[in-house]
């Protein structure tokens, strides 16, 4: 804290940048997952539950085995399992996928709080960060540039998915299922299987996002750990208009917006803290109002998506 004071307004900028990188990582992972799911024509509104269950699993396994990496893996597995459940129920005829998401939201959080009760007190082994600030003598700069490998994994995934969705065979298959289920069936693809896979992959990434919360930043497990990042990520996907690369920029923007409040607090500005927190939601709503139209579906949205009709 004192370091930030020494740096004055530069410290504020530094805190925003560092905060944006830390806060944006779960947004990035969850929104990339949701992009995958939505590209296949399904919406999983239950990612908040997935995120919290992932956070709990990661923390519990890291605590029990001493390995944060095993923890992350189990977070992904828990997320994929919830994704499978979502897909299995949504695959039934005449079941609304949005509603299933809301149900999984409740179920996932309940399960996480139930199973995670014994793990609220202990400390688990945290994920290590990559120190990129060793060139500086200032501890503030050093801690600001200690960056999680998950952040880089997120960037790599964003680039890979952007390319993969456009230029690979499976990307095309995914997009066909999302644009026209009839066309996909006509060429012999199983829409249900594609969407199941996409929802599981989305769940896996969201689980990782939860693992980041409990094993890196803020780096503990309690029932107030998530402040709605899972639901936020759904708005973020719309804001990014279903592009993985734009998900990355939007995550940084959303992360930066949530980092502004705490950062300006260090120089004594406390007014409007909560309004800054609401900025991403207002921005997304504004973008929705701007880009929606009565006569056509949302630009860039997969046509099979229940929220774009």
């Amino acid at each position: 804290m004192t370091g930030t004071f020494d740096l004055g307004w530069w410290g504020v900028a530094l805190a925003i940048v560092a905060g944006a990188m830390r806060v944006s990582t779960p947004y990035l992972l969850v929104s990339l997952g949701e992009t995958l799911t939505e590209k296949s024509g399904r919406v999983n509104l239950g990612l908040e539950g997935t995120l919290v269950l992932g956070a709990m699993s990661a923390f519990a396994i890291a605590y029990l085995t001493g390995s944060p990496w095993l923890g992350m893996l189990s977070a992904g597995a828990a997320g994929a399992a919830l994704g499978l459940l979502h897909a299995a129920i949504s695959n039934l005829p005449r079941v609304n996928d949005i509603a299933v998401g809301i149900a999984l939201f409740i179920f996932g959080i309940g399960l996480a709080f139930f199973l995670g009760k014994p793990f609220i007190e202990p400390r688990a082994t945290m994920l290590p960060g990559i120190p990129l600030g060793n060139w500086s003598a200032s501890p503030a700069i050093r801690s600001a540039f200690e960056i999680s490998p998950m952040f880089f994994l997120g960037i790599a995934l964003a680039i890979a998915l952007e390319w993969g969705l456009k230029s690979t065979r499976w990307g095309l298959i995914l997009r066909i299922a999302g644009e026209s289920a009839d066309a996909a069936r006509a060429i012999g693809l199983s829409v249900e299987r594609i969407r199941t896979f996409a929802t599981m992959a989305g769940g896996f990434l969201s689980g990782l996002g939860g693992g980041f919360l409990s094993l890196y930043y803020p780096g503990n497990w309690n029932e107030g750990l998530s402040s709605g990042q899972g639901l936020m990520a759904i708005a973020l996907v719309i804001f990014a208009r279903w592009s993985p690369l734009r998900c990355f920029y939007a995550s940084l923007l959303f992360g930066g917006a949530s980092a502004i409040g705490p950062a300006v607090q260090t120089v004594g500005i406390t007014e409007g803290y909560y309004l800054f927190n609401a900025a991403p939601y207002v921005l997304t709503l504004g973008l929705l109002i701007y880009s929606s139209s009565r006569t056509r579906t949302l630009a860039g949205a997969p046509s099979e998506l229940s929220i774009s009709r």
Binding site: L92, V95, I98, I109, A278, R309
Partner: protein, 373 residues
């Protein structure tokens, strides 16, 4: 204007939304209602079985847990009162999803409408200080309902005039409402004499509504019950309700019939939001006496669950709210008796929700129809 394909319209209709078992295959209304009830009961039974297995895996005796759950929910006068208190706000927040669903919209903004209703009620109560007691109470509640109605009504207007998806907009509005509440109670309208927590100025004591005579359950329960009954009459037995059903069932048909689509959408979203706003106002007027974070406890999200479980039937909301209120109310007893975390009740509610949704796929196929194809 490019018309959407009819197949998609059918898929979007009220038949699939909230899993209501109305189906174009024919069959009398009573067959549909009976099937609806049967499906819900089967779904709840399946959820109870899965939850029982889950408990057994944890080393508990499921039967003993269920006996205690019943005891904690309905077994004693005290637990019944606690159940009724838990159920009261759900009666109204469920309507926030239920009414717009009748016109084919999936609104999940109950949480935000509760918050805004509570906020408006607190402000109105403070502003009306000095008014006659009853007038003050009524106007305070009305302010909450109006604020909630305008909030969700705005989502309806965005849907109708701009085509903004109502599910996403109401989700965003939830967060905006909560941020607004936090902002206001942390400074502009904060009562700084309350040092324990950030809350708004308090409404006059005289405006508060207490418990119903002979019960330790506040009047909010009666308000909720009356709300559900009125809505049931409105939706089932008036031309307006029928018009909403036509719109929810088939938008194109409603358009052809010359129904005022915009007005129906605005009215349905306004009424839904008003119900949730009223729930928030009741929380302020009957429980907290001021607006604070205590309004953000998931009443809106629980209301979505109630609405789906009730399958668009405003009267069924009463039974479902009692069931879910009972499950929540028994959490404390379960924790004391078996050392089961309180979250077990959330797991059970989530399981019931999932099973009810899955059961929707059997709608129209469970009971034999006279005109089956």
């Amino acid at each position: 204007m490019q018309e959407p394909q009819p197949t998609k319209l059918a898929a979007r209709g009220a038949g699939s939304l909230l899993g209501r078992t109305w189906s174009p295959r024919g069959g009398s209304l009573s067959t549909d209602s009976l099937e609806s009830l049967l499906l819900s009961l089967i779904a709840i039974a399946v959820a109870a079985l899965i939850f029982g297995a889950f408990l057994a895996l944890q080393g508990h005796d499921p039967l003993a847990v269920y006996r205690t759950l019943y005891l904690g929910a309905f077994g004693t006068r005290f637990s019944l009162e606690s159940t009724l208190t838990q159920a009261a706000p759900l009666l109204l927040t469920a309507l926030c999803t239920l009414i717009p669903a009748r016109v084919g919209l999936l609104v999940i903004g109950g949480e935000g409408a509760v918050v805004l209703g509570g906020l408006a009620a607190a402000l109105a109560g403070v502003a009306l200080a000095g008014a006659a007691d009853l007038v003050g109470t009524v106007l305070t509640l009305a302010a909450g309902a109006l604020a909630g109605g305008l909030w969700i009504g705005a989502a309806g207007a965005l849907k109708h005039f701009r085509g903004v998806n109502e599910t996403i907009s109401t989700l965003l509005l939830n967060y905006i409402a909560i941020a607004l509440l936090n902002h206001l109670v942390s400074g502009p309208i904060r009562d700084f004499s309350q040092t324990l927590k950030a809350q708004s100025w308090s409404i006059p004591k005289a405006f508060m509504i207490g418990n119903m005579p002979g019960w330790s359950v506040h009047w909010g329960l009666l308000i909720g019950l009356v709300g559900c009954v009125i809505l049931n009459v409105l939706l089932r037995h008036t031309t307006l309700g029928f018009a909403m059903d036509v719109l929810g069932g088939n938008r194109r048909a409603a358009q052809m019939a010359g129904l005022p689509l915009g007005r129906l959408i605005l009215l349905a979203t306004f009424l839904g939001g008003a119900a949730a706003g009223l729930a928030g106002a009741v929380e302020v007027v009957a429980v907290h006496g001021a607006a604070s974070e205590s309004l953000v406890v998931g009443l809106g999200y629980a209301g979505i669950l109630v609405a789906f479980l009730a399958r668009q039937n405003a009267l069924a909301v009463i039974a479902v709210a009692l069931l879910l209120g009972g499950i929540s109310a028994s959490g404390g007893l379960l924790q004391r008796r078996f050392d089961i975390p309180h979250a077990a009740t959330t797991v059970l509610q989530g399981l019931i929700f999932l099973c009810v949704l899955a059961s929707g796929t059997f709608a129209g196929r469970l009971l034999p129809r006279r005109s089956a194809q």
